[in-house]
């Protein structure tokens, strides 16, 4: 299949390679170098000094933010998966073909609406005199402070991740061999038991990947924790924007960013291994 390298082939292959090497790989590699540079008198100079790593890793604030971010993202992944599953399951198995196509089309729409605008919209719902509290007040409850809480951050995270999680789960569910489910039913396997012992193991890869994407999205998001969570507790993404925008401490921000990338790589690696380790078991069922 090998062909000699030709001008024709290179015309199509090279531009993307060059672009992504220059503007994707190189900036990320540069981030590593930057994390060893030092800041003196508000200017950044090339250096090889581990001081930024030592400073950041020595700060309790950093580890608190790390714990918060990791915990919130993990909780969001579990919550999104649990909330999305009945929905994707119902779309996959309880709707007609045309209704399913419509459902998928509708779920794509949120990707093309501004996430910022949706978060602002949630402020309208959740503020002290907002829609939810007015409605609760009508039945004699509240008002409850809802904005600037972890719960509000979670609502924002769901806004960000739920459509993607539903779609990814759905794609793994529609490809399940239906005869497997019929076989389970024929053998008098109950409905709930069929879901847990046939459907979920068969769709395991897709379900884990969906949760992983939720983790990646929420782990790096700074909009929900700031504009719905009120910036408290601080997350790593808030720490990055603060460090970058209001001081010239780019090297320290680079340390945070690299720690985040390392965490995401480990989480992604473990999830994928977990997903495929389960697949063998799933196909046996």
């Amino acid at each position: 299949m090998r062909r000699p390298i030709s001008l024709y082939g290179l015309t199509f292959s090279l531009p993307l390679l060059v672009w992504q090497l220059l503007f994707f790989v190189f900036p990320l590699v540069f981030l590593v170098a930057l994390s060893f540079w030092t800041v003196k008198n508000f200017t950044i100079r090339p250096d090889f000094n581990p001081v930024n790593w030592v400073t950041m890793f020595g700060k309790p604030v950093f580890w608190q933010a790390y714990g918060t971010t990791f915990g919130l993202a993990a909780a969001a992944s579990v919550l999104a998966s649990v909330v999305a599953f009945p929905c994707s399951y119902a779309i996959a198995f309880k709707l007609s073909d045309s209704a399913r196509r419509m459902a998928v089309f509708l779920m794509v729409i949120p990707f093309f609406t501004s996430y910022l605008v949706r978060v602002y919209s949630w402020q309208i719902f959740l503020s002290d005199a907002g829609i939810v509290n007015v409605m609760l007040g009508a039945v004699g409850l509240g008002p409850y402070p809802m904005l600037n809480t972890v719960g509000a951050t979670m609502v924002g995270y769901m806004t960000l991740a739920l459509p993607l999680v539903i779609l990814l789960q759905l794609f793994s569910l529609v490809f399940i061999d239906r005869t497997l489910i019929e076989a389970a039913h024929n053998m008098r396997c109950g409905r709930i038991r069929t879901v847990f012992e046939v459907v979920i193991p068969s769709a395991r890869v897709g379900l884990v990947i969906a949760a992983l994407f939720c983790f990646i999205l929420t782990f790096g998001d700074f909009v929900s924790p700031v504009y719905l969570g009120g910036g408290d507790p601080t997350t790593l993404s808030i720490l990055i924007t603060d460090t970058t925008k209001s001081g010239q401490q780019w090297p320290r921000a680079a340390v945070i960013a690299l720690t985040m990338i390392a965490t995401l790589l480990v989480v992604a690696f473990l999830s994928v291994r977990f997903a495929y380790a389960g697949q063998a078991k799933g196909s046996r069922t």
């Binding site: 299949m1 090998r2 062909r3 030709s6 024709y8 082939g9 199509f12 292959s13 531009p15 993307l16 390679l17 672009w19 992504q20 503007f23 994707f24 190189f26 900036p27 990320l28 540069f30 981030l31 009945p86 119902a90 459902a103 089309f105 779920m107 729409i109 949120p110 093309f112 609406t113 501004s114 996430y115 910022l116 605008v117 949706r118 978060v119 602002y120 919209s121 949630w122 309208i124 719902f125 503020s127 005199a129 907002g130 829609i131 007015v134 769901m158 806004t159 739920l162 459509p163 039913h185 409905r191 990646i216 999205l217 790096g220 998001d221 700074f222 504009y227 990055i240 680079a254 960013a257």
Partner: protein, 273 residues
Amino acid sequence: MNSEQINRSRTVDWTLRAYIVLAYVFVFAPIAASFVFSLNSDRFPSIPLGSVSLDWYRAVAADPLVWQGLGNTLMIGLIVGVVSTFLGFGAAYTDYRYHFFGKQAYLALALLPPTIPVIIMGLAMLAFLSRVDLSGRAISVIISHVVICAPFAMAIIRLRLSQMDPALEPAAWNLGASEWATMWHVIVPFTKPAIFGALFITMAVSFDEFAIAWFVSGLNETLPVKVLGFLQGQVSPRINAIGTFVFVISMTLVIVAQVLLSGRAAPKSDEKE
């Protein structure tokens, strides 16, 4: 079919359907609210609704900075769309036709960028671009957006290429067409719907991206960065007006792309072109 009927209960079916509706209500509530409140006269949006008014649209239209942001967004989106579609097409064609050492790495480069958190991309781009004196300009946003948009174009066009009869290209060569002529008269016409689909989708992605743009744009703010500014300042229903406006543009792009991409009845007429 029969076995499904054994395990079928109306209550469960309807509960599940109701659950779907509930999930969609959660997803669409903020989108719908933003539209409704963009037309509402009250300064502090809540229920009961005030009167219908276009005041927020007028306020937005009277703000020269919004127009400047819109101009930047449109210009950047258009260039990003064209460049990412070209790069994505090249990568998709490379994957379709060639086998070479390191292809996995090539494909990783072509597809991975959107999975890196935008905030990290933003920081990395800002640090790198300011080093080579390219930060704080429209070109900085274009460069960064192409990085995350090209993978979408690549995926869309690759999908279309996989629908193409693999014998088509060699057939054209056998009939004496050069590689370039085959590209121009066979492959480009066949992938044309996907090329335009990719163009519109990448434009829509660039149109909504705010985090990287916020880091690298400097004074050349795009419209989403402007919205971020509104969010940071005093909260105002103007965001709803801009949001609705941007939503209409994005959806137009997406629907046009959808129509182009679902035109699957057309492969025969494509070949005639």
